[in-house]
Subunit: 444 residues, 2 copies
């Protein structure tokens, strides 16, 4: 055997002998998992790869995981951003095989197992898409400018400054007709986010912050909650909807049911024939999944969500998964799974385990959502909850809500801080973080 | 006596009889005090009018009083904005005679006792100007874009995001030459702010946050502190300067003395012949008083500060006062009072009491500054302090610093929160608020 042939035939063994470490990394290269989005779905999926041989990379446009269920409390100046967010990097600081990347994913090439980032490309063996949703204005994108939505920390701070600046403007405005628009708050959308926001704003404008102002009183403030359907909180039972409505009305919220928004502009909201003048319109009415999903070239539903198979994978591509708010899936009864944190968390965990198992498509179990209940808070000591068929309202629902939200908040310190904030707030009736961090800007 | 004459002569008594309340408010109208700026000077002055017959109005461009000595900790992601700021409105919520206005003062008309706001005018009997200072680039205003300064919460959040975004950019950049500029931090100015910032950045970049990143280590980060004079902390004694320098060097800070900045651009800083490539240049080198003072048409010093008389009043106008960083005053030894919080607080209190006393110019005492000491922190368990002639450094100075800063922080809850943050930080070595709240923006 000629020496060159010998080398050719035995090169693998020789390489292994001379470069044992490198060699292993070449031939036994770890499987690459890319996770897009550091929300509940992405974070729980990434955690599954702790202490494994997979090379996982979690990519997010922001540097933090956000505990979105409490985001409205940041908007309402009850909590600080740092109370409900944690750098994704910190969560995985001790995991060498889990990388974190602050970047935006532009598109997915499912044929070539590649994603395109702002300035680069990455290859994957498995891809988990958990990019979440943004608010949707049903085609009226010009409304966004006058009716901001609430999805990110930046959104929450914007809404907070909107509310605080309006109260300041009202304090300065001596013309009562001119003042009214600053003291009118309109929340569009009677789902959990809208209800929680309306309740929180009512507490601010009728009870807590109002005491700091000297030129107007609680009776001068108007809070309107607008819902297109005949009842609020349609994902709850009708009696809980009624209870929530009753509580909100008691807190001074004017609930407008069966009312469709036909226009939003810088002066307020048009509801059919009626125009509500307001400088504080907040949008909580609709969601549309991340535009990234369009680059998958698969069937999406009306809300832009990926129609996934029972294992959360994309039809025809058993290594690409979509979880959380960006996916649409039905349960055994044919009902669409709700866009809530527990669904995203369970799907993320499910897909992570599934990839680790290495099972091929035909041997995979289907995802089943275990509904542990849902809850929405309305105000201090007021909430509604459905927990394993049990309907709760009032103080007990609020305590359950507080307990669950503290419990699931990531990071010991955050839990402690939020708990301390709530105790303080409960005792003193004072909001804690009423800061306008942007320097004074002229109001239009 | 004709009836009309009777009315004329006795109108005062008649009016008093028929309109007793209104009447009093017409003839005994309360004196109007306007306070511009809700910093230490303005806040302490305003507090003097609690429960008095004066109508006080405090006007600020932001809605909060800021505990500026801890601002660098917000920039360094150790504290949240809400930990060191409190709405001015809350401070005076129970004082009917003290109004708070979120507005910008455009000019002062000292002949007509009037100030001009963005959209209105206000009359005053007494005016206290406490508008503070901004950073000065000594005529090179284009530098500001590349070397932000640190005076407001908004500044602090900008610097925080600059630092965090750079670390993220470094994590992504695989070209070591390209990466260096993201990992080089340059603080210009070796006064207390510069020293505290450099120390805080060294802790982040060499000890705490660095552990979250996987593609670079502490040795890859470079922190430079630039000072034009032969030593840092020139307001302290030379041996404390040396101690601070020693501590900073131990923490990994490269101190460049006798170096003048000749240019700042998007790629870094020019120090004479040497160019330091850096995406993280922070300005702590100079101050200039608020431009509002120019509208007073009085003598200002080079730094734009009002040259006030010994009672803090403006020459020729015994009812107009300037306090804090916006004023320049000398002590008995002819030394200029430093631009620190205690001077502003004592001046504010002094002027408040002086106005309440109603004394005319000739009977007024002069302001005397009681120096209770000064301190600067360098890092965990490292500080320098001069307290009544006593020079302290190391752990004991740091404990004194912590105690004083917690003690003077306004609001019980803030005190408690900052204390808890520091304990947590001390034990875990983790920074708490590393959030980039603005969505991903392309770095140049």
């Amino acid at each position: 055997m000629k020496l060159s042939l010998f080398f050719y035939v035995y090169q693998e063994h020789l390489l292994k002998y001379f470069y044992p470490v490198n060699y292993i990394s070449i031939t036994m290269e770890n499987k690459k998992v890319i996770i897009v989005g550091g929300g509940f779905g992405g974070l729980l999926a990434a955690k599954e790869f702790k202490d494994t041989d997979f090379d996982a990379t979690i990519i997010d446009k922001t540097n933090h995981h956000l505990f979105q269920p409490l985001l409205y409390q940041v908007a309402a100046a009850a909590l600080s951003p740092a109370d409900i967010a944690i750098p994704i990097r910190s969560v995985f600081r001790n995991q060498k095989n889990i990388k974190v990347l602050l970047d935006e994913v532009i598109s997915v090439d499912k044929e070539n197992n590649t994603i395109k980032l702002s300035n680069s490309e990455l290859k994957f063996d498995h891809l988990i898409l958990s990019p979440g949703a943004r608010h949707s204005y049903f085609g009226n994108d010009t409304w966004e400018k006058y009716a901001p939505g609430l999805k990110t920390l930046s959104d929450a701070l914007k809404i907070r400054e909107l509310i605080l600046n309006s109260l300041e403007a009202a304090e300065k405005e001596l013309d009562l007709n001119q003042r009214k628009k600053y003291l009118t708050f309109v929340v569009i959308g009677g789902g959990p986010t809208g209800v929680e926001l309306a309740g929180a704003i009512a507490e601010i404008a009728k009870k807590t912050m109002i005491r700091d102002y000297k030129n107007f009183c609680a009776d001068d403030t108007i809070i309107v909650l607008v819902e297109a359907l005949p009842r609020i909180l349609t994902s709850y039972s009708p009696d809980l909807s009624d209870k929530a409505k009753e509580d909100l009305v008691k807190m001074g919220v004017d609930i407008q049911l069966n009312k469709k928004v036909t226009d939003v502009n810088e002066n307020g909201v048009q509801l059919g024939d009626v125009f509500i003048e307001s400088k504080n319109v907040i949008w909580a009415a609709g969601n549309v999944a991340s535009p990234l999903l369009k680059t998958l070239n698969i069937d999406l539903d009306k809300a832009g969500r990926a129609i996934v198979e029972s294992d959360c994978s994309v039809p025809g591509y058993s290594n690409i998964f979509v979880v959380g708010d960006a996916a649409i899936m039905k349960d055994d009864k044919g009902e669409v799974l709700p866009g809530v944190a527990p669904v995203a968390m369970q799907q993320g965990r499910f897909v992570g385990k599934l990839i680790k198992s290495g099972l091929d498509k035909s041997n995979r179990k289907k995802f089943t959502y275990v509904d542990k209940g849902s809850m929405a808070t309305i105000g201090k000591a007021k909430a509604v909850a459905m927990i394993s068929g049990l309907k709760l309202s009032g103080l007990i629902a609020w305590l359950a809500w507080s307990f669950v939200h503290i419990f699931f908040l990531i990071g010991f310190r955050n839990r402690f801080r939020v708990f301390a904030e709530w105790i303080w707030y409960y005792i003193t009736n004072r909001q804690g973080t009423r800061l306008i961090t942007n320097a004074l800007k002229e109001r239009k």
